[in-house]
Amino acid sequence: MIEAHQLTKRYGDKTAVDSISFTIAPGSVTGFLGPNGAGKSTTMRMIMGLDRPTSGSVTVNGKPYGHHRSPLREVGALLDAQAVHPGRSARSHLRTMAATHNIKASRVSEVIEMTGLAGVVSKRVGGFSLGMGQRLGIAAALLGDPRTLILDEPVNGLDPEGVQWVRELVRALAAEGRTVFLSSHLMSEMAQTADQLLVIGRGRIIAAGPVQQVIDSVSGGGVRVRSPHAGELAAALAADGVTVTLPEAGTLEVSGTTAEHVGEVAFTHGLLLHELSPRSATLEEAYMSLTQDAVEYHSHTAPRSKTERGQNR
């Protein structure tokens, strides 16, 4: 359980996290979604007590992180796969963390087995690939058998098999009743992994709730119809107060109603249909629509003007 109350972080006059409040419930996987620079990592660092909130508060399992007597037992975190000294072996890294909580060597071996690091555990971390670094970070997060897991971009740099593994791992952990909070800027990954979504943009919560609900709240659904009698059908639907657009001849985009209703209207008017397909927005579309105003760094792909090119020479 993670509870944030009007959590705010300002760096100088830049507000990274702007008075956000949320509750992350145990027993499910909550995805923390947002573009780069939206405030995901800053929020997670405040949860972990690494950064001090400018105002507001956040608790994990009922207490601020720093007030737990044995914090690794409460919370396991992967905040940054690079939070490791490259000159140390993977096993030594885990041993240094395990030692602080008197965690047995057998548990260190367990998390090494679990994360598939057994073959590289004596190698120095500096030579690890990004994917192995992620696995080591996840191993460290699991060390204390924590009730709450916080994973910042856990699938970054993992191969497809690794991505699959993380997905199954977090689902299994949530199924055991743990709180799992993971961030990503990859909406497709969230669609397959998370039960709940917390969407953040420019330091503010844009949307929160079950994954499908968040998607529906943005798209509102829609129906695509192809018919040789498109014009008549459009008129019949418009009479029912349904919004209809004609993107091309013979095709209708209907919103604000169901496919069943469109079918019934066509039937009662004796109109032939070639296609009747309900369209649910993908998480990707929902995400783009949610965050288009909240993207911190837009990419500008517009062609350069002649004068600019001239100046560059």
Binding site: R45, M48, G49, L50, D51, R52, Y65, G66, H68, R69, P71, L72, R73, V75, A77, L79, D80, A83, V84, H85, P86, G87, R88, S92, H93, R95, T96, M97, A98, A99, T100, H101, N102, I103, K104, R107, E110, V111, E113, M114, T115, G116, L117, A118, G119, V120, G131, M132, R135, L142, D145, D159, E161, G162, W165, E168, L169, A172, A175, E176
Partner: protein
């Protein structure tokens, strides 16, 4: 890829295994964690080995140079003023150089690599980390100094015996100099650790630490203003010099009494550590 494959079903079972039944954060645990951290880096072993080697070799060189001193009629009478322990401990500045760098890296290495986030995730109250690092460093510095001094004593013995200068183990002067070495090197290590916690950057910390510890007394000795010389006498190396001699030889710049030197050297350790503790509590990691 088979080595990196993990079965999620075993994961779940293992995650609730009884081996995590007794998980408790204690200061002894934090100490052990810091101990593993320091000893699991190759650079630590290189630093310790080179500190011991350099201090031993320099003491041997100092002992050999007694020959030249004895051959010159001008300097020959000076040999009687020399205490054998001063020769044994003469590698001190080289030890200081390496120990100071090691002390700095112990903390700045955490910041430069990002390890500090893992460290503070495990110990969010932070101060136990600083305390454990300080204690670990004190133990290791004292140990390497004792080893170096012992080695120096052994390798200089033959040469010193020619001049009847082998430091007597029942002579308080001997223990003053050898104890002073341990005391001052430990202080230098803590000075760097505190400075490293405040500055976080390895380059900045090493530069400032070595300037204050080793460079300033030499460069400022050319400035013959009284007030500058007073400042110089309070710098770590001149203040340590008082503790590293038996008082019969005159060390330039070392004008403090024994008690004042003990206090000044301790201040170089305590003040940065206290400032570091305050900063550590307040700042974002």
């Amino acid at each position: 890829m088979s080595t990196l494959t993990a079965d999620p079903t075993t994961t779940t079972r293992a995650a609730t295994s009884p081996s995590t039944a007794e998980v408790n954060s204690t200061f002894a645990g934090v100490m052990r964690g810091e101990w593993i951290k320091l000893l699991s880096l190759r650079s630590t072993w290189w630093a310790l080995a080179s500190a011991a080697a350099l201090m031993t070799l320099v003491s041997l060189a100092a002992a050999m140079s007694l020959n030249a001193m004895a051959d010159d009629p001008v300097t020959a009478p000076g040999i009687e003023q020399v205490h054998g322990a001063e020769i044994v401990a003469s590698g001190f500045p080289f030890g200081m150089l390496i120990i100071a760098v090691m002390g700095a890296l112990f903390m700045t290495g955490e910041y430069s690599t990002g390890m500090i986030r893992s460290t503070f995730a495990a110990v969010p109250t932070r101060l136990p980390v600083l305390a454990a690092k300080a204690l670990t460093l004190v133990v290791l510095t004292a140990a390497v100094t004792v080893v170096s001094v012992t080695l120096s004593y052994l390798v200089t013995m033959a040469q010193l015996s020619r001049y009847d200068l082998v430091p007597a183990l029942d002579d308080p002067g001997t223990w003053r100099v050898l104890g002073g070495s341990v005391y001052c090197l430990t202080a230098a290590a803590l000075f760097s650790l505190g400075l490293g916690t405040l500055l976080r950057s390895t380059a900045a910390t090493v530069t400032v630490a070595l300037t204050v510890l080793l460079l300033l007394p030499g460069t400022l000795s050319f400035v013959t203003l009284d007030w500058v010389q007073t400042i110089v006498s309070y710098l770590p190396l001149p203040a340590s010099s008082t503790l590293l001699t038996t008082g019969t030889t005159d060390v330039p710049g070392a004008d403090l009494s024994t008690h004042a030197s003990l206090v000044v050297v301790a201040a170089y350790a305590v003040v940065p550590i206290v400032a570091a503790a305050v900063a550590l509590r307040r700042r974002d990691a």
